[in-house]
Each structure stands twice: as C-alpha cells, then as structure tokens.
C-alpha cells in the first residue's frame, strides 16, 4: 500500500466483474487471489469472507490477534466490523438457480453464514476462536469508521480489553447496478475533487485493525485512536446535506472527543467519493472548520469506493501516513476544483504528520470522523 501510494499506482481498471455489463471502472481483487475459506469454516464460504480471509493473512495480523488472545483471553477480545452488503453476491447467484417449478432457492444456499450482515463478525470470531462481544455495523459507507467508536466504548465500559475492528465489502451486482441506477458511476476512473469529476468507481476491499486499551509495553510511537465523532444529516436518503452540516458536526465532535483544536490536525483523509455533490458538500464543511490551512486528499482514486470497508481502509492509510512520514496524493485528480477553498494534495509528498482525521459518510445521512495520531511527540 505504501509503495503504491508513493508511486501513484492506482488499482482501478475497466469493469469486468462477473456478468456485469456497465461502462465503469472498478477496484477488483483478481478472482484467483480469493481462495476458498479455511475448510473448518466452509459454511462461511463466499466472496466477502474470502476477501476477509485474504486480508486477515496479511502483515502479521493473525499473530497479533492470537497473542492478544493469549494476553487477554478469548472472551475479552471484541469483534466490531462494518459491511454494507456482506455476502449478498451469494444470494444473487442463488436466485439464478431457483427451482423452475417451485421457485425455491438451492439447498446449498446458506443465509445465516453468507448473506446475513452479522456473518462477517461470526466468521472472524470463528477464524480466531474468539467468543467476546461482537456486532456488525451496517450504515452504508460510514460502517467501518463507526466500529472504532463501538470498540472504544466497549473497552471503556470494561466489556473487553481489545477488539478486532475493520470492514469488508466485495463487488456484487446489487451495488454496481444500484449505483448505476442513481447515475453515480463514472465511465472513467473516479477523480475526487477534480473540477470535472463525474462519479464514483466502486472498489472491493478489506481492512482490519487490532485496537487495544492503553497499557504498559505498547511502543510509544504506536498510532492511537484519539477521537470519534458521529452525526446524522436529517436531510435525504442518498444526497448529502447541501451545506455539509452533518459532515461538519461529525468532524467537530471528533475534535471534541479527541480534546483537540482544529489547528492540531495535520492532514485529513477525505471521504471524497468523486461525485459532484459529495465532494462539494464535504469541501464546504472542511473549509468552514479548517479554512484552506490543512492538507487533505481523498485516496479513492487508488482503491475505488470500497463502501462499507472504506472507513477502515482509509484509517489504515492515515495510520501508514503517520508511521511512514508521507501525505497521500489523489490518483486521477488532474484539475482541483477551484470553487472549493482547500489545500488539496494531488501528488503524494514526503511530509510528516502526527495527527490526522479520516472522514467516512454514507447513505441515510450517516457521518463519522476519526482522529488518529501520536499525541506525545
């Protein structure tokens, strides 16, 4: 990820997913990377959990969770994950195999362990042998940002000592054709905050984070969750509030929760989907709170819009930026929209940031901002 961000290498390509015939670009994981889930978890096998498993196997994450299990006990580690569509592709495929006479779904269709929203957390619990508190948050595109809040509250309330948080969303026909019906798919790679932006590119992706309560022995440089802010637009199901009211409230509440002033933020990873209205309203909200002082960018030009997974993935990008001392640019953005008074980064630059904000907003007017950083440097 760090190498791709450094070399401005985007993961978007023309859509060639399943039987979809749509003039759009997607961020797709090659099918041959998505191997069947572990044999003992076969009931969970579907694209979403294959993608979850692929992600769990990266970067020493399994070992980190297993040693936390040793340290705290299997019932003291929570699992709070986000997804928007879970394994709905499995249901879409099952509908093609309905019994021609009775209309019945095939007997091998397993609703509870594939389609149901909760199946993601159930799969991850089973994968690691965890049996503590768990839930899946499904608030469209803010899902896996909000789970940081759930985990932080559970740890604060003493129900667990650590939590696996994150999000997974995989390509499916429901979202491709759904966003198509709303006229929100760009025929070119998405160009967040570009003057000529014209829609999103859908991506699939997963991100997992092991969140632990503060304790002795954690390296002082470890990136910490400093604040979470959540709000509702109370405006429209699929259009953001025109002045970005909900977005502004979420950012203000995240700052309040982190007990930090606006000028403590060094970089903002924007939600920045690349639609006219999202970038316009988010830009207004950022500008109202931060002026044009804070460097910001959207990283969806690399990954596409990973929907319920983008909160976790972009929190990870933000943490990587802090750890590796760079600020990510914005792939595919050529001419920054001058009507928005922002310090918008098009190229990745080697500038250090200690405290960053990451935004995620979703359908239904649901907003979440996270503050991550190293406080004592």
């Amino acid at each position: 990820m760090v190498a791709a961000l450094g070399s401005m290498r985007s993961g978007l390509a023309p859509c060639n997913f399943e039987t979809a015939r749509l003039d759009t670009w997607v961020g797709q994981i090659p099918d041959d990377h998505l191997l069947p889930v572990r044999a003992d978890l076969a009931a969970f096998d579907c694209r979403n959990h294959r993608l979850a498993q692929l992600c769990l196997m990266q970067d020493g994450f399994e070992n980190a969770v297993l040693s936390a299990r040793e340290r705290y006990g299997s019932d003291r580690i929570g699992v709070f994950l986000g997804t928007s569509t879970s394994g709905i592709l499995q249901t879409e495929l099952a509908y093609r195999r309905r019994d021609p006479c009775s209309g019945a779904l095939p007997a091998d269709f397993l609703y509870a362990t594939t389609q149901n929203i909760y199946s993601l957390a159930w799969f991850v619990q089973a994968y690691f042998g965890l049996d503590g508190p768990a839930a899946v948050v499904s608030t469209a595109c803010s899902s896996s940002a909000k789970v940081f809040g759930n985990a932080a509250r559970m740890i604060a309330a003493g129900l667990c000592d650590a939590a696996v948080v994150g999000g997974v969303d995989s390509l499916c026909l429901t979202t491709l054709y759904g966003f198509g019906s709303l006229g929100l798919l760009s025929a070119a790679p998405c160009r967040p905050f570009d003057a000529n932006r014209n829609g999103i590119s859908i991506g699939e992706g997963a991100g997992f984070i092991l969140l632990e309560k503060a304790r002795q022995g954690i390296a002082p440089n470890t990136v910490a969750l400093l604040g979470v802010g959540e709000s509702s637009d109370a405006y429209h199901m699929s259009s953001p509030h025109p002045e970005g009211l909900g977005a502004r409230l979420a950012m203000q509440r995240a700052l309040r929760s982190a007990e930090l002033p606006a000028d403590a933020i060094h970089y903002i990873n924007l939600h920045g989907t690349g639609t006219r209205s999202n970038d316009d309203t988010e830009g207004k909200a950022v500008s109202a709170l931060f002026g044009d002082r804070v460097a910001c960018s959207s990283t969806k030009g690399w990954t596409g819009h990973t929907l319920g997974a983008c909160g976790a993935i972009e929190a990870i990008i933000s943490a990587l930026a802090i750890e590796h001392g760079f600020l990510p640019g914005s792939a595919h953005t050529e001419v920054v929209d001058a009507s928005l008074a922002l310090h918008y980064l098009t190229a990745t630059s080697a500038i250090a940031a200690d405290i960053v904000m990451s935004n995620a907003f979703g359908f239904g007017g649901t907003n979440c901002s996270l503050v991550l950083g190293r406080r004592n440097r």
Partner: protein, 263 residues
Amino acid sequence: MKCFVEAAGVVAPGLAGWQKSRAILAGEVAYRFEEFAAPKLDVLPPVERRRTGLPAKLAITVGQDALLQSGRTVASLATVFASSDSDGELINEICKTLAGAERRISPTRFHNSVHNAAAGYWSIATGSHASSTSLCALDWSVAAGLVEAASQVAADREDVLLIAYDVPYPEPLLDARPVKYLFGAAFLLAHDRGGHSIAALEIKLKRGGEATRMHDPLLEELRRDNPAARALPLLAALANPPQGPIVIEYVAGNALEITATSC
C-alpha cells in the same frame, strides 16, 4: 453495566403500543394475535412517506411509541437501531431483477436496501443530527443492541434510544430465513434516574445461559419466530418486575443477565 429505562415501546401482532400492551405483557390480560396494520407516519414529509418500506415504518412507529411515554423531544437523542436484516422484501425484489435479463433496479429500492434505511428516515422524520448506529447480530441483534446502547450510556454518559425491529421474510427467502411475524421494541435508556424512569437495569455478560421464555405459548411462539421479539422477556420484566434476573441470548454462546428493579 447500569442504566435506567425511561420508556419502552412495542409494536407487533396483538401488541399495539406500550400502553395497550402493558397488561398483556404483565400477564394480567390474555394475549390475542391480531394482524398489524401499517401506520400512517404523519411525522414524515409526504414524499419520504411514500418511499419508506415496512422496516422503516415499523422502526419509526415503535420509536415514537417509546418517546410518547417519556415526554421527551428527540432533537439531541442518540439512537441505536438493531435488526437481524433490514428488508427481506427488497432483497427478494432486487435479487429477482438481477437474476433476469433486464437488470434495472429502482434508485429508491436501492437506497432503501441499506441496513441503516430506518435510521435515515428516523433522522429525517425527527430532524435529529444526533449520532446513530445501525447494527446486526443475527438472532442476537436485540442483545447486541442492548450492549451497545448501555455502553453508550456508560461511556458517554448519554441517553440513548434503542430500536429493535424485524419484518417477515417473503418466499423463497423464507425457507432460508424463517421469520413469519413482525416485531418492534424500543427502550429509552438513561444515565440518570428521572421523573419518568420505570426501572433500573443491571446488565451482566455471562458465558452460557438459557433464554428466559414467555409463559403465554403464543407470545413464546412470537419470541422464537422474530429476532427482535427476543426482547419480549425484557418488556415483560418492565411491565411486571420478576423475582430475579431475565436472560437474553447473546453472540458466541454468551448471554445477558438483566436485573430490572422498579423505580
């Protein structure tokens, strides 16, 4: 975790609101199954009212039922929506369309298919900008919602409205997900005891434990049928506090042991 219940709401076949249902839940009046009539929802603007599906209508109705008891305004009230799946009817329609040759999904159907559709319509109906979450834990969604709401009350010292709801599944999904009846329950949980408080709750997480059942066989059938109806023993405990705690099953072989004491 400790909190106070300031109000409760219930909407289900034969349980038309907390006031009408209290005596039934307390075991003083016999339960009778009656079909649920979808409410008019005057709280939503006409355009949004036409667009809302049954899950959002149910969630808003039962949330309003709880608020009615509390005399509260909702502008600043945080919400937790718990549902085992949002809208089986919509999933059925969308999957049927996608399995056909013409893959044209209606934009309204698509945005209503998100799990947080009810929360979105709630915030439009009430004008609330407060924080809100929508979660799922399959058959343990009510318990997960209670844990989440109570932890918000404890960690943020905030009052939270929990709305749990689930609607029936259509064929052919019904075979894979047998939910036949609709059920909605709402609990306004408060950090401090107030003039409207009806009970103090103590919620403990424990390993194992069998769920408390309903005495009435029809209510017990409802409890087993609909994931949101797993809230029935808690509603009954609020209507008529029992000796000792009630148990609601939670994820991964855990259970919530809840002690309700009248205020």
